[in-house]
């Protein structure tokens, strides 16, 4: 909490009774919003609540249908297409706008290169970049190529870019979605430092704990309407979640169901190694939900991709129901009933330019006709079933996947994977970047699948998710499984001890 951002601080940017319609459909209803100098203001709401639209209006990318915007107390019409940058209003997008083959310095001065006698003044630009990065306390090398930077550092470069353009108001849309915990902490330190200097932030996020930790005030939107603005200090995660969904989240996680000890083992992995993963062994029984926890880079995804045949393995055996699965063959893994649901739904999961049907059936086209022929009717029926089963809510069944909300995309991806009728389902980050209401639904889907006798592996960086869903939890560290926890052992502290290397036991 920042005491400076108390009621006295001047309002730098305000929205008065903003409404917005797209093609006759109203998405914002007379919304009010105030951003004070030197405050971090969280903007929260479920997918579709209107957060992004409000952000776009406040940064000039969209014009409101009615209502006015006040900049420093004066009614203002923000120029379109990012030209509001000149007024000190900057958006940092979730997907960065950085050219991978430029250096940090070149990125920072992109479009406003400094020249001397018509020649680029590299020395000056490098020094200036260094100064801004130092001001941020960032260790990023000003000569490094963007492509060589970690995601956190890229984010830092975006922020540096914003500062070097004298940004007073910075919008951050889900900045931590792709960051590890350490990277997030680092980002937050920089953000706080800038707040001290009077910069204002609007922080759009789904992560309640981060909102509680970082922000000064919270504004909640629901269904395009303003619901509440309050100091973060007087709210807690539970109450924000309730404001967002408008109902009580009594059961975010469904009741756990432990399979009996003598239930048959479906998936057995024995001594699996890849380039990075070393000697991983574990089993999953029928109807079980096994969690995989660990820090980012601990090798969880690599292990799971090797199990699912997406990655070559250098040693080890994988078998389903006693039948061995050859390595590096996705198709073979699919055939014996292993399905892997990627955490990267936008780049590895869905064809963003294709419609729902094409996405849904892509992995299971063999079911929809013989000799390679596809029956449109059979596919349409599959889509209808999937929409009902996974509650995919879209206005038009022919919408392309890229235009669906994160939550609907995730449901579609789950539906796509389930179309292969797998017995073993590996779900990597089941709820990344989706709202709390959809999260709850996905948890219930997972639980229902387990009750149906599927074996499920959940890989997640969100500790509550692992703890809330799984009856056993494997913890990975530096490519090895360092412990498999059961029952009472499954707690945040215990998992942390294993993933940080404080504790270790041989894999069961």
């Amino acid at each position: 909490m920042n005491p400076d951002a108390a009621d006295g601080a001047p309002v730098v940017l305000a929205a008065r009774r903003i409404s917005k319609s797209f093609n006759g459909v109203q998405v914002l209803f007379s919304v009010n919003f105030e951003l004070r100098a030197g405050e971090i203001h969280a903007l929260m709401g479920e997918n579709g609540a209107g957060k992004s639209t409000l952000v776009k209006i406040l940064s000039g990318f969209e014009q409101p249908t009615s209502g006015e915007i006040l900049l420093d107390g004066q009614p203002a019409k923000l120029p379109p297409n990012g030209q509001a940058e000149a007024l000190g209003i900057v958006i940092i997008h979730q997907e960065f706008n950085l050219a991978e083959h430029l250096t940090v310095t070149e990125s920072l001065f992109l479009g406003r290169e400094v020249t001397r006698y018509g020649v680029l003044d590299r020395k000056f630009m490098r020094a200036e970049t260094r100064r801004v990065l130092d001001q941020l306390g960032s260790h990023v090398d000003e000569n490094a190529l963007i492509s060589s930077l970690s995601i956190a550092d890229k984010q830092m470069v975006e922020i540096a870019k914003a500062i070097s353009r004298d940004a007073r108001i910075i919008f951050m849309d889900e900045p931590t979605a792709v960051l590890s915990r350490e990277e997030t902490n680092y980002l937050f330190r920089q953000v706080r430092k800038l707040r001290e200097q009077g910069t204002s932030f609007v922080f759009v996020s789904h992560k309640l704990d981060e909102v509680m930790e970082l922000t000064d005030r919270v504004t909640v939107l629901r269904d395009g309407q303003w619901v509440k603005t309050a100091p973060t200090g007087i709210l807690d995660g539970e109450s924000i979640a309730q404001l967002m969904v408008g109902r009580e989240l009594s059961s975010l996680y469904p009741a756990k169901q432990e399979p009996s000890v003598d239930e048959e083992v479906t998936l057995a992995v024995e001594g699996l190694s890849t380039h990075y993963v070393k000697d991983a062994s574990f089993e999953v029984r029928k109807g079980e939900i096994l969690g995989f926890s660990g820090l980012i880079g601990s090798g969880r995804t690599e292990l799971m991709e090797a199990v699912a045949g997406l990655r070559a393995r250098s040693a080890g055996e994988v078998s389903v129901g006693g039948v061995g699965v050859p390595g590096g063959d996705v198709h073979a893994a699919n055939r014996v009933g292993i399905a892997y649901m990627t955490k990267d739904r936008k780049h590895k999961g869905l064809l963003l330019n294709s419609r729902m049907t094409a996405n849904l059936t892509l992995q299971s086209l063999g079911k929809h006709g013989q000799y390679g022929y596809l029956s449109p009717k059979s596919e349409a029926e599959a889509l209808e079933r999937a929409r009902r089963r996974f509650d995919i809510r879209v206005r038009d069944g022919r919408v392309v996947a890229g235009r669906m909300s994160g939550g609907n995309q995730q449901k579609l991806l789950l539906a796509k994977v389930m179309e292969t009728e797998p017995d073993v389902i590996i779900i990597d980050e089941p709820t990344r970047g989706i709202d709390v209401g959809t999260k709850q639904q996905i948890y219930h889907f997972i639980s229902a699948l387990a009750r149906d006798g599927k074996s499920i592996i959940v890989v997640s960086s969100e500790m509550p998710e692992i703890i809330g869903l799984c009856t056993r939890v494997a913890v990975m560290r530096e490519g090895r499984i360092v412990g498999i926890l059961e029952g009472e052992e499954i707690s945040e502290q215990e998992i942390m001890r294993y993933s940080a290397g404080l504790k270790k036991k041989t894999a069961a």
Binding site: K20, F22, N23, G24, V25, V27, N47, G48, A49, G50, K51, S52, T53, L54, K56, E62, D173, E174, V204, G224, L310, V330, H331, A333, N334, Y340, T342, H347, K348, G349, L350, L351, L352, N353, S354, A358, T361, L362, Q363, L365, G366, G369, G372, Y373, L374, P376, R393, V394, R395, D396, R398, V399, R403, M404, S405, G406, N408, K416, T420, G433
Partner: protein, 336 residues
């Protein structure tokens, strides 16, 4: 995150004119426009004889371009098709001249079979170099373009290769000059090839895989699609289409030379792109491609029939068409 879209999605909304994909319609609208312009320029233009002539002459490019639609949809590119036409045609004529089989009909059947095999093999080679060799398709097919062209020049010793057997010639001639129910054979072939291609691309598992691979090969791989096999088969389809084009080309002149099929690759790519297929892959429009090929030929025809533009400018006009087509498509994307 697109909150605006979410809201639209959840609120339910009737279908509107926006559901019509303008990009799919645009090439056909352009074709219709050209027909009108042509009719205004010269009344002979719109006559059935002239139009049938134009369609017949577009057959080579159209058929080659149908193959290119597959390669481009899967995210690759094949620059070697023009050279491949010359090479495959040379082999076919040399084989027919060899006199290995006495019976003309049998000889012709064998030559047709050989042509199809050689075309497929040339395509397979392109595919394997690109996928197994992991070489950019642009570079790989630039290489084979030189190879096929060089082999043709060598086979013809810099001159022409001509079909010598008069009996074979007589037997084979109708394949280009004949008609089926009054329709010239090349036009029949164009439509047959296109119907088969459209079926494969839109209605089969393989077609879906092509689009998925071209759209995002990572998604395809994670969905268990054998990405390299799909790409290689697309090159083979391209090779087969080249073979079919050769089967029509040889009876027309009964000869080939080192300059046969020069720049056809560019015309084929133009037809594909004008037809609405994205050059970066992920969307194929077979009927659009045919339409594109017709447009290219029509423009040439209109220029010949009109007096105010020199026909020596055909290349420049075709170049302008591809740029205009792209600009139109871009503006349509922005609107939708």
């Amino acid at each position: 995150m697109t909150a605006s879209e979410d809201a639209l999605e959840t609120k339910g909304r009737g279908r509107s004119w926006r559901d019509v994909d303008l990009r799919a319609v645009a090439p056909f609208a352009a074709l219709a426009l050209l027909l009108i312009v042509g009719a205004l320029v010269n009344p002979n233009f719109i006559g059935i004889t002239n139009l049938a002539n134009v369609a017949t002459r577009s057959a080579f490019i159209a058929i080659v371009a149908v193959g290119a639609t597959f390669v481009i949809s899967s995210g690759d590119l094949d620059l070697s098709v023009g050279s491949m036409v010359a090479f495959v045609a040379s082999i076919m004529i040399l084989f027919m001249n060899s006199g290995a089989i006495a019976d003309p009909a049998l000889m012709l059947a064998a030559a047709v079979a050989l042509t199809v095999v050689i075309g497929g093999a040339c395509g397979l080679l392109n595919g394997l170099i690109t996928t197994v060799g992991k070489i950019e398709p642009f570079i790989a097919t630039l290489g084979t373009m030189g190879i096929y062209r060089g082999l043709t020049t060598w086979l013809s010793q810099g001159g022409a290769i001509t079909l010598r057997e008069p009996e074979l010639q007589a037997l084979y001639r109708p394949a280009y000059f004949g008609t089926l129910f009054g329709v010239p054979i090349p036009i029949v072939v164009i439509f047959a090839v296109t119907i088969v291609a459209a079926f494969v691309l839109y209605r089969t598992r393989y077609g879906r895989h092509v689009v998925a691979v071209g759209s995002n090969s990572d998604v395809a791989r994670y969905s268990g699609i054998p990405v390299n096999r799909v790409r290689t088969i697309a090159f083979v389809i391209q090779g087969l289409c080249v073979a079919i084009a050769v089967l029509l080309y040889v009876p027309r002149l009964g000869s080939t030379s080192a300059t046969t099929g020069i720049l056809w690759e560019l015309q084929a790519i133009t037809a594909v792109v004008v037809g609405g297929t994205a050059l970066k892959g992920g969307a194929g429009r077979v009927w659009g491609t045919i339409c594109g090929a017709f447009i290219l030929e029509l423009v040439g025809n209109i220029m010949l029939l009109s007096n105010f533009i020199s026909e020596y400018l055909i290349g420049a006009i075709q170049g302008a068409i591809i740029i205009i087509a792209m600009l139109v498509q871009r503006s349509l994307v922005r609107k939708s």
